[in-house]
């Protein structure tokens, strides 16, 4: 098993660890004068258990499994020898349902798979469907979608940060992260009227344009967000407990990470700078100025660092998007896919026909297929759609990034301690809604 050795300077004041990362010996018993009394450790009465393995079951109802994941572990003492994951407890058959829905009717389902990244999923699905229809979206729509993607990346990473801090034993960053997440949700609520299940996009446009005042609100958020990140960074990054519980865990080498199909921060933490936004761009991402952070060791600590840096980069992209947001129409001027305004639908014959055809029958793409991948907060999220010329897809396939990332968990936890399983599992950033679909 590959091991990773590294040292991180630890601030002594915050923790019970010394400069080498070992626990500082603090006397627990003092005499009347306050000077420490030497206490001898009790003689070990641990029975010899060599060779006996133990079966332990984590989940499906366990707070640290982030949903209904079940891990069956074989333990030798505290060391994990074998890990057998079980998934599917949340399987809803999204892909099957999609075969019975028109394209615009599938968008609400994309909210519900990776529910921390709903706007990003909506955008990804709309991009896929537009490829299938052969539609070019407007410039304002492109920038609005970039904003939606980056906002949802922030939401997802902040939830990851907060819950992982709780898993590892820090509560305060969770509150700070969720405070910021709330601000993003407020903007989303003003924009589309929903917080979690946004259904933000339509094929060929958006469900709504930004409301008045939202840009200022977003701007204020973008200005204030780095300060909060700095604060979280100060509390967590060099904290001895955090470092001690994350460094060297679940390390994946670059070749291995690529072979296991990892993507997103998991892959980049291993030192592979693959970012769909950079290498297979969409939504004009190549025109934005942002960096792709990579880790050096591929362990849990690097995954944390990569996600922290991605939050800063998202903030940068968001600031650029606010600056460049052009005026103009949001939806394409094509009434085969975009509903005509309601006033025209009741007064103008042609608009009424379009309205009727779209609602009753749905737009029909030509025969073809498209696989469109975007960089979701978890990694490469792809939608593969196959059309036979009817208004409903023959096949709608979600390429779930955290599903593939999770499939490497036996490789990552085997050989580590039981308590490290929680940290490694948290570092994958799984959302069971997306894994089970």
């Amino acid at each position: 098993m590959a091991t990773t050795k590294r040292t991180v300077d630890v601030e002594l004041s915050t923790t019970g660890l010394d400069a080498q990362g070992r626990p500082r010996r603090v006397p627990l018993v003092v005499d009347e004068s306050g000077s420490p009394v030497a206490v001898e450790a009790p003689p070990s009465i641990e029975p010899e258990l060599e060779g006996e393995h133990m079966l332990i079951n984590i989940g499906p109802q366990h707070p640290a499994t982030h949903g209904v994941l079940r891990l069956v572990l074989e333990l030798d003492g505290e060391t994990v020898v074998r890990c057998i994951p079980h998934i599917g407890y949340l399987h809803c058959g999204f892909e099957k349902i999609g075969e019975y829905r028109q394209y615009n009717q599938i968008i609400p389902w994309t909210d519900r798979e990776d529910y921390l990244n709903s706007p990003g999923n909506n955008v990804a699905f709309a991009l896929g469907a537009e490829r299938l229809f052969g539609i070019e979206i407007t410039e304002r729509c492109t920038v609005l979608r970039v904003m939606a993607c980056e906002m949802s990346r922030m939401i997802s990473h902040l939830v990851w940060l907060g819950t992982t801090c709780i898993d590892i034993g820090a509560f305060t960053p969770f509150l700070w992260a969720f405070q910021q997440r709330e601000k993003v949700y407020e903007i989303l609520e003003a924009w589309i009227g929903a917080r979690l299940t946004t259904t933000l996009t339509r094929v060929g446009g958006m469900g709504a344009d930004l409301p008045d005042g939202a840009l200022e609100q977003l701007n204020a958020f973008v200005q204030g967000f780095p300060k909060v990140l700095d604060e979280i960074d100060r509390v967590v990054t060099r904290n001895g407990i955090w470092v001690g519980r994350t460094v060297g865990l679940g390390a994946m080498s670059p070749d291995e990470a690529v072979n296991y199909g990892l993507s997103g921060p998991m892959l980049r933490a291993s030192g592979v700078a693959y970012d769909v936004r950079r290498d297979f761009p969409y939504l004009d991402y190549e025109t934005y100025d942002f960096d792709v952070p990579v880790g050096t060791h591929g362990d849990v600590y690097d995954r944390y660092l990569v996600r922290m840096e991605e939050l800063r980069q998202s903030n940068r992209i968001l600031a650029q998007a606010i600056k460049r947001l052009p005026d103009g129409p949001v939806n394409v001027d094509d009434h085969r896919v975009i509903l005509p305004p309601k006033s025209k639908a009741t007064s103008d014959m042609e608009s009424m026909i379009h309205h009727f055809k779209q609602v009753m029958e749905g737009p029909r793409p030509p025969i073809g297929e498209a696989y469109v991948a975007v960089e979701s907060p978890k990694g490469e999220k792809g939608y593969y759609m196959v059309s036979d010329g009817s208004s409903k897809p023959v096949r709608w396939r979600i390429r779930p990034p955290s599903f593939v990332n999770l499939s490497a968990i036996p490789r990552m936890v085997e050989g580590h301690l039981l308590s490290d399983v929680i940290a490694i599992n948290a570092s994958i950033d799984i959302v069971m809604g997306e894994i089970d679909r």
Binding site: K96, R131, G261, Y274, D279, V394, R395, R399
Partner: protein, 234 residues
């Protein structure tokens, strides 16, 4: 960096003179530039390519079922191709039941920034079996298991081809097949009856129960039932 670490950067083999990738615009429905790997497969494996086409800017290569594994292995290993990243494995069944089933591999070459879709056709009436690429890409592990679970397509050579999303004793068939009704094959009352009749104690597979001799510690009646091959949910 101090430890001599260099990150792996996609597109690095393309050289500095290659343009940075840009968002594709005005993609044609049919036609367009074909991925050079399609012709490379034709040259390397004469007769193995059934057809190759570009649809919406993406190259699809339909290959012979028996040679799919060799072709994908070659795409992975060959230094001029280097398809090192398997994005997705899935299958497509058409509503028109005359059309063959398709198994689809989405491959990416990170060093060359290429994307290729490889397909295998399974004609109606022939065995639902394709070669597994688990030995080439570890990411195929769960993707192939899911495909087997949803379509009943067997991946020959996969070391652990069990159901993944549905439970192992699921009897209604393969949910993403077109002959599978949206509400499931069994009636609601039958599904409820089976759920209530499930044995909540028997949550582990026999394989898992072999750990720590946990099997020996079970009550006698459970041991008897599991010993006769009975599994969870029966």
């Amino acid at each position: 960096m101090s430890n001599g670490f260099t990150p792996v950067v996609p597109g690095s083999t393309l050289g500095a003179e290659s343009a940075a990738p840009a968002t594709p615009k005005q993609i044609a429905h049919r036609g367009g530039a074909m991925n050079p790997s399609a012709d490379a497969i034709r040259d390397r494996f004469p007769g193995a390519v059934v057809r190759a086409a570009v649809v919406w800017g993406e190259t699809t290569v339909v290959v012979d079922r028996a040679r799919a594994h060799d072709i994908i292995q070659w795409l992975h290993d060959d230094l001029a191709q280097r398809y090192d990243y398997l994005s997705d494995v899935t299958a497509v069944e058409f509503r028109d039941l005359e059309q063959p089933l398709e198994v689809v591999w989405h491959l990416r070459s990170l060093p060359f920034r290429r994307f290729l879709r490889v397909k295998v056709l399974i004609e109606r009436g022939s065995a639902l079996e394709v070669p597994s690429v688990w030995d080439v890409y570890r990411s195929a592990d769960w993707l192939e298991r899911e495909c087997y679970d949803m379509f009943g397509i067997r991946f020959a050579g996969h070391p652990d081809l069990r159901r993944l999303l549905m439970w192992e004793q699921y009897k209604e068939g393969y949910p993403l097949r077109k002959d599978f009704p949206l509400r499931g094959r069994f009636s609601r009352s039958e599904q409820l009856r089976q759920a209530l009749a499930a044995n909540p104690e028997a949550r582990y597979s026999k394989d898992e129960l072999s750990i720590a001799d946990a099997f020996e510690d079970l009550p006698d009646d459970m041991k008897r039932r599991l010993g006769t091959g009975e599994r969870t949910g029966e």
